[in-house]
Amino acid sequence: MTVTATVPKLQLSGLNKSFGRGDKRIQVLRDIDLSLADNEFVSLVGTSGCGKSTLLSIVAGLEDFDSGTLSVDGAPVTGPGLDRGVVFQSYTLLPWLTAQGNVEFALKAAGYGAGERRDIAREHIELVKLTKFANAYPSELSGGMKQRVAIARALSYRPKMLLMDEPFGALDALTRHQMQELLTRIWEEHRLTVLFVTHDVEEAVYLSDRIVVMGIGPGCIKQTFDVDLSRPREPDSASSAEFIDLQREVLRSIREESLKVELA
């Protein structure tokens, strides 16, 4: 394990990305340098349009990039793969499969046999506390339940890291808090490298070890904050002075960027 300790879990360096071609070409990400250590929980925040979701798509292998390097455990990323689990903002459960079937979907691609698939899926559905709904179709589940299944699905095949793109963005405030607690609990128990995109600063502070603020025009890494709050994090953590101070600092950093856009 000494070898993996020296190589970051995820490493991006000098990464550039543009959309369009010719005169209409617009650079959306410039010179992104970012690395995540093993089992680190990092949130990516920034004003809308800063390219944080694009960056996550690139890491997921769903979007290509112009130049720079991107590697997981030192190996270059060439496309989507089972070494990275992804949870999207939109509900991406396959509607014709039950909760159980959705979790088994990836296990089948990973080559597990039928019995193993069933057991592993059941275990992960239990992890997100949905055992009673294992045989329900997505249309029978609430938004929060769908995202819990999506998390179970992304964890089931033991990816090296979890990529989450505003996974709780479409949920109501109460459900969102429950999901944050659930995710924190799972993370604190099982430990995993997570790259989490959000526009909710409180959420970022509550969940993360480190918060990366992105700047705009084109998207770049602006500032990094270490979150030195103790773990396990409790719902009450959000009312501590440290928490609120940090939240304020991160917000100020983001706001500077939004002002740039408004003044431009």
Binding site: P80, F88, L94, W96, F105, A106, A109, Y137, E140, R153
Partner: protein, 258 residues
């Protein structure tokens, strides 16, 4: 008062639905029994029923019905077996679409009935000719409609499947196909309805059996009761097949109705 989109109760819905049939038959009876329309041109409802009974019990019309149903199913099944896979390929892979779409779009507008004289020359007036008419009328429509449905598969579901380890063919097989299966079944239900009109036209023009043959035969005999009975039979069979299709779809695609 009538309010826009205000739902109607179950029993009133049934009563209203039946009421129109009653009104329709009443008008028909009024026009014929009242002597407003010549009996030569339009039989009254009772004559239609007795002609129909005679057709079924004496003239062996049930055999004709079976023949026609067999032709529709044969031609339609052949079209579906070829068109659905082609439509899926066209919807999933853009080069296949670029290759086939212009021709299929053009061929779709070729009226199947206009091929009948040509098909009679090629295939005679046997079963093959009827099946080919239905085939030509159905196949291009199914290809295009399936391709459009498959081409509109939710992008985020496909991306999710890629992150879950699916290969390119895996995404077609495990996402694009199941995601669009209900849509494809619905397309088949629709096109089967159209296939009915093609078979009758084919039977009107050159045939010695089937519902369309009975209808054209009855024209020579001025047996308007029989013609109307034949048309009603087609309508009823259409309703039944529609109902069966819907019931099967609801059972197969429970996830959609859950």
């Amino acid at each position: 008062m009538l309010r826009p989109l205000e739902p109607v109760g179950r029993s009133s819905r049934i009563v209203l639905g039946i009421a129109f049939f009653v009104l329709f038959v009443a008008l028909w009876a009024f026009a014929t029994f009242g002597g407003y329309v010549s009996r030569t041109f339009l039989a009254d409802p009772l004559t239609m029923v007795s002609d129909g009974w005679n057709l079924l019990t004496v003239q062996g019309f049930s055999q004709d019905i079976l023949v026609t149903v067999g032709r529709v199913l044969g031609g339609f099944a052949l079209a579906a077996v070829i068109a659905v896979p082609l439509g899926i390929l066209m919807g999933a892979y853009k080069p296949v679409e670029a290759f086939l779409e212009p021709f299929v779009s053009f061929a779709r507008y070729l009226p199947a009935s206009a091929f009948i004289p040509l098909l009679i020359l090629w295939a005679g007036i046997g079963e093959m000719q009827k099946i080919l008419v239905i085939f030509i009328g159905s196949v291009f429509n199914i290809i295009l409609m399936v391709a459009v449905a498959v081409g509109h598969t939710r992008r985020d579901l496909m991306e999710a499947a890629y992150t879950l380890g699916s290969s390119d063919t895996g995404v077609v097989r495990r996402v694009m196909m199941p995601a669009n299966a209900p849509e494809i079944a619905e397309i088949l239900r629709l096109v089967l309805g159209w296939a009915w009109t093609y078979v009758i036209v084919a039977e009107l023009i050159g045939s010695s059996s089937g519902i369309g043959y009975m209808i054209i035969n009855s024209q020579a005999l001025l047996a308007t009761g029989q013609i109307i009975f034949g048309i009603i039979v087609i309508g009823i069979i259409g309703l039944i097949s529609d109902f069966l299709f819907k019931a099967i779809n609801r059972r197969l695609f429970r996830w959609r109705f859950a």
